[in-house]
């Protein structure tokens, strides 16, 4: 069952456009994450949040920004997309520590 939802699934846009990737979860989890993953590579954490109005940058430098105004919603925004932003973006959430992350189905972004 899909308790964490990402839209769009696929997005092809031109350089310079502003985009927002949506992520929502219905599990009431406080912790939410954005990972970036390229084929054959590990998942890199780019942003995380431990609750409303709390956001932190992850281990991988990213030009994107996030917001957490509501518990269930954690959108990611790119102000000006570039071809180097082409990747798969995965949103995840978790409850208390010791429980696994639940991932959405991801957004495959292609910037031309």
């Amino acid at each position: 069952e899909a308790d964490i939802y990402q839209t769009p699934r696929y997005l092809v846009i031109g350089t310079g456009k502003k985009i927002t990737l949506e992520c929502s979860q219905t599990m009431g989890h406080d912790k939410m994450y954005w990972y970036q993953q390229d084929p054959g590579m590990e998942l890199h954490l780019i942003h995380y949040s431990y609750g409303v109005n709390s956001t932190e940058k992850g281990d991988l430098s990213s030009e994107s920004t996030v917001s957490r105004i509501r518990t269930e919603h954690f959108p990611l925004t790119l102000e000006s997309a570039r071809p180097s932003h082409t990747s798969q973006y995965l949103c995840a959430s978790s409850g208390i520590r010791g429980t696994p992350l639940h991932f959405g189905n991801g957004t495959r972004l292609t910037v031309t």
Partner: protein
Amino acid sequence: DQQVKQNSPSLSVQEGRISILNCDYTNSMFDYFLWYKKYPAEGPTFLISISSIKDKNEDGRFTVFLNKSAKHLSLHIVPSQPGDSAVYFCAASSVYNQGGKLIFGQGTELSVKP
């Protein structure tokens, strides 16, 4: 500095045989380990986890082994099925590492042939 490593990018196994996927880590403070399975164009799906107080955890066809002295964990799938063909990621976390965020390996692509 990669703290979680999966040194085999791919593995091919015959249906019905055992699949063994390996993962090494460098941070001795890791205390929680997980395996995820990922199909193309989908998000990772949680498979099985183990805490550092155990050395084995089993769930159906999947068993995870943890060797803390060697900083090594492995996932055994037996018997392997064609539907198991996917990319498998191991991940680790520590409460001392930025509040327990997961660190992932690069993944191993498993192909189970009929």
